[in-house]
Amino acid sequence: MTTTAVDPALFSSLDPPRLAGSRCESCGTVTFPAQAGCAKCTGTDMARVELPDQGTLWTWTVQAFEPKAPYRVPAEGFSPYGVGYVDLGEVIVESRLAGDPAGFEIGMAMRLTLLPLWAGPDGAPVVSYAFAPAGAFAPAGGNR
């Protein structure tokens, strides 16, 4: 069974998790997800790029009520989840947030992770992306 992305266009890699965006060859604007035209200069020469996997929390909230469709309720039922924008330097990305909202603060360091969503047709997990407080990860170089 292979983990698959909810939309392959979002990722340049699942392991390690990396998001894919696009950069305008004319004005340098970076978008997420990748798009065919530049929202800033209206150019159409867009190159696919990998986005940084670390940034800072720009704003956030918690989705406390179950959204209507097309939201897909997880098999185990709805529970509130964090949502925010994470500043990656060249682009600010909207994202589900992992971790305890009680600790969320504008400006805190965040890091990309995968977000399990539901089981695909073959039972393998379907994932999206999330950012979690960087403190929740093992220190850099500390991997066993």
Binding site: P67, V91, L117
Partner: protein
């Protein structure tokens, strides 16, 4: 000399929750008839009509109940800015000399609870909705949090604005929410998307509103105190604006379409924000009223704390805002909401606003709507 436009009649089907059998279109017809009666004109006299509804049918179908006069009838569907765009369209028809008399009507009948949006309608792929990012109230909460943080404002301000809305609703016989709610109760209420609680967010509702516009040089024959539509302007977003349903933002923040629409409308009217004596701002949530005060130029960023602490935005203050209770106390039938704003300002400028009447015979009013996916329409009205 260019043709000027005046409001000569207003009609409101009160917003709220009504009989399930009462359709949006029926409310639209009722509001239209009230506005025509207020102006003392017949439907057959109307030479141009514009109608707005987001979810409750095609407005031009109203001709089947109002009368098949052959009138040109334009339908508008621009989210929360629908009524503002409809008003601009009708005013332009008068200015272009197509007609001397126009009707603008907006109506909607929404299901309970937050709106459900389709990703495809907004140019997004399915993942955006399926993973739970496409919820309008999330955006309101996140824009509020960022704005309060950036300008050093307290979260309590969100409750102060909501409490003011319900106090105003108490004074407005047409309001949906007519009971004052304390700041404490608002702060302690069910959290929807923090920092927003249930009383800080407006609810989708039902209702209709209509206005009759006329060439200003003929308005005095129709109306004792016509209100001049000094200017109306509408804008879509520019690059960098923080908008609902945005999977990404550029790191250099831009300004919202409200800033552009407000600048344009004041320039066109030859007036400044400081001339405004009574205002209506889009208050989809109480934070929206706070940042729209600054985006429309009515105050500087960060100055809201002092103004609101001093009750300057109450009907008795220096800059009364949303004297009819706004979206928070009336709910938001999307197609009608901007016309409710215009009606409140017209009543204020005519001295017909009853218990919520602003003192001192205001002469300059302002309205502002803002909607997804980044559109704003503003008017300047003068008495």
């Amino acid at each position: 000399m260019s043709i000027e436009v005046a409001v000569v009649g207003v009609g409101l089907h009160p917003f709220g929750r009504h009989d399930p059998a009462l359709t949006g279109m029926t409310m639209g017809a009722q509001a239209s008839r009230l506005a025509l009666a207020d102006a003392g004109v017949r439907w057959a006299d109307v030479g141009y009509a514009v109608g707005g509804s987001n979810v409750s049918g095609k407005p031009d179908t109203l001709v089947s109940v109002l009368g098949l006069t052959g009138v040109p009838f334009v339908n508008v569907r621009n989210g929360c800015a629908t009524a503002g765009v409809a008003l601009a369209t009708a005013a332009n028809a008068i200015r272009a000399g197509e007609t001397d008399l126009a009707l603008v009507v907006g109506f909607d009948k929404h299901a309970r609870g937050a709106f459900a949006a389709s990703p495809a309608d907004y140019g997004h792929s399915d993942w955006y909705g399926e993973t739970g990012l496409m919820v309008t109230t999330q955006f309101f909460a996140m824009k509020d949090r960022r704005y309060l943080h950036t300008h050093g404002l307290k979260e309590q301000l969100l409750a102060q604005v909501a409490a003011k809305a319900f106090r105003n609703g108490e004074l407005n016989p047409d309001a949906w929410r007519r009971k004052a709610i304390s700041e404490d109760e608002i702060m302690r209420a069910r959290v929807i998307n923090p920092p927003l609680t249930q009383y800080m967010l407006c609810s989708p509702s039902e209702g209709a509103a209509a206005v009759v516009l006329a060439r200003a040089d003929r308005a005095a024959d129709l109306c004792e105190r016509p209100v001049r539509l000094a200017a109306v302007a509408k804008r879509t977003r520019q690059f960098g604006s923080f908008e609902v349903f945005s999977p990404w933002l550029p790191p250099q923040a831009g300004h919202s379409p409200s800033v552009d629409a407000a600048r344009a409308v004041f320039a066109s009217a030859g007036l400044a924000p400081s001339d405004v004596q009574v205002a209506q701002l889009q208050d989809t949530d109480s934070g929206a009223e706070i940042y729209h005060m600054a985006e429309t130029g009515l105050c500087e960023d960060g100055a809201q704390q002092e103004l609101i602490d001093a009750n300057e935005t109450a009907p008795t203050g220096r800059l009364p805002i949303n004297t009819d209770g706004g979206c928070l106390a009336n709910g938001e039938p999307v197609g009608a909401s901007g016309l409710r704003q215009v009606i409140d300002i017209v009543l204020q400028l005519q001295g017909r606003a009853g218990a919520r009447q602003v003192a001192g015979s205001p002469r300059v009013g302002f309205t502002h709507v803002y909607g997804a996916p980044g559109i704003s329409a503003c008017t300047v009205l003068t008495g």
